[in-house]
């Protein structure tokens, strides 16, 4: 049974790639932040606060991407029973949850000057909030089940059902929003994106993606190490 046949090789791969991944991430973030904070123009309506968009929007993208990554890893785990797939899914969850929280927090900060309140239940923020709950539920499942094999299977099912539910939630919340609010004058997406705003946004998006990948690799390594530790502890218990 080749339970941990691959992770050793994968660990070597991560060790080799990691410094480069961090370097790449830092460079992209530096460039992106420079473009966002210095180069991009002010918004005629919002002034300087529009710059929060460069932190908020890519965070929202990553929040969603991380969940899709988790769902894909879960699907691979169920179909191919590859042990790394379970680990990848588990590792992605807290990172995705953090990105979601970041998106929610920056969304709130961005909106405060405009709406006058710390929170508003518009379609996008509400969907993001539910996504946060999906992450919490998934992470909770891993903690609730002791047997790692069983936890992996159940978590995979939770991730996939959640993934199927995501577009339905988005659709439902959008519908709900149009029912209860007239077409809002202000869209949190901001005015139509013209090139001066698009370029920094894309760079920040790439930076966040690099950050996610780097953190994900680190988290996968940590999870593999944690499992090895447990295996060693089990072996110790068996010796006695």
């Amino acid at each position: 049974m080749q339970q941990f046949a691959n992770p050793r090789r994968f660990l070597k791969l991560i060790d080799a790639v990691e410094p480069w991944a961090w370097a790449f991430t830092v460079i992209l973030l530096a460039v992106g932040l420079y473009l966002s904070l210095v180069v991009a123009p002010q918004d005629y309506q919002q002034g300087e606060t529009v710059r929060i968009m460069f932190v908020h929007v890519p965070a929202a993208w990553m929040a969603l991407l991380a969940y899709l990554d988790m769902a894909l890893a879960s699907a691979v785990a169920i179909i191919f029973r590859h042990p790394l797939a379970d680990i990848a899914a588990k590792a992605a969850a807290p990172i995705g949850a953090c990105f979601t929280f970041l998106a929610l927090a920056t969304g709130s900060l961005w909106g405060k000057p405009m709406w006058g309140t710390w929170w508003v239940w518009d379609a996008r923020l509400t969907s993001m909030f539910v996504l946060f709950l999906l992450y919490l539920g998934y992470i909770a499942i891993w903690h609730a089940i002791d047997d790692p094999g069983r936890a992996a299977r159940i978590a995979a099912i939770v991730a996939l059902v959640g993934c199927i539910n995501l577009p339905i939630i988005k659709f439902s919340v959008d519908w709900w929003n149009t029912l209860h609010q007239p077409a809002s004058v202000f869209r949190i997406g901001g005015p139509t994106l013209h090139p001066a705003i698009l370029a920094p946004l894309l760079v920040m998006g790439a930076a966040y993606l690099a950050l996610f990948v780097t953190l994900h690799l680190t988290a996968i390594r940590a999870e593999i190490m944690a499992r090895r530790l447990r295996q060693m502890e089990l072996a110790r218990a068996d010796e006695v």
């Binding site: 049974m1 339970q3 941990f4 046949a5 050793r8 002791d146 047997d147 790692p148 094999g149 499992r227 447990r230 295996q231 089990l234 072996a235 068996d238």
Partner: protein, 205 residues
């Protein structure tokens, strides 16, 4: 009829329970599973029953009903009674009879002397009586393969005799029995000891 198990492996809770287990049980044979607690006797029985999935290996019943899965041709009596406390003895058995497709209620009630208790709710039965209710399933529906996990626990001497008689009759009619038990049943059987193989330990890299 023949139960054939090839190279069976089981990992639970990150631990290797057993690996490379192979056995053959012919019709009319009794296989006694021995071994310390945690050796994997219960896991083995559950794997054969199809309740759990093995991590490695194959289990096949040759000469049985080709239209049915192995699970549908076996009885599994584990450490729990599968009895609803708020249903009567008769209602419990009637449910399993209906569910497992078939069912001779009278024969089941007589098998362990539960006829007098038939109208009582399982909640008022003693532990031993509930055990007898669980074992009555064996006489309720005819299935060729019996997988018994410590079946004598909680039984008094008379009930134990009834169980042995039932098992004896089943073997005589060509059925297969695998039983994990510490007790001497007085029946001739092949012994399989678990928990002594050198493969006990953590899955190798």
């Amino acid at each position: 009829m023949e139960l054939q198990i090839t190279d069976l492996g089981c990992i639970r809770g990150g631990r290797l329970v057993f690996a490379g287990l192979s056995l053959r049980a012919d019709g009319g044979s009794l296989t006694l599973l021995r071994g310390p607690n945690g050796a994997g006797k219960t896991s083995l029985l559950r794997l054969i029953a199809g309740v759990a999935e093995p991590d490695h290996g194959r289990i096949a019943l040759h000469g049985g009903n080709a239209a049915l899965t192995l699970s549908q041709q076996c009885h599994f009596v584990g450490d729990r009674d599968a009895a609803k406390l708020h249903l009567t003895v008769a209602e419990n058995l009637r449910f399993w009879g209906d569910f497992l497709d078939g069912g001779d209620l009278d024969r089941a009630l007589d098998s362990f002397g539960l006829k007098a208790l038939a109208g009582l709710q399982a909640a008022v039965l003693s532990t031993g009586q509930r055990r007898r209710l669980a074992l009555s399933r064996l006489a309720l529906v005819a299935r060729p393969l019996w997988l018994l996990d410590e079946p004598t626990v909680g039984l008094d001497a008379q009930s134990r005799q009834r169980l042995v008689a039932l098992m004896s009759a089943h073997l005589a009619s060509g059925g297969i029995i695998l039983a994990a038990t510490h007790v001497e049943l007085g029946l001739a059987g092949i012994e399989l000891s678990l928990g002594e193989a050198p493969t006990r330990g953590i899955a190798a890299q």
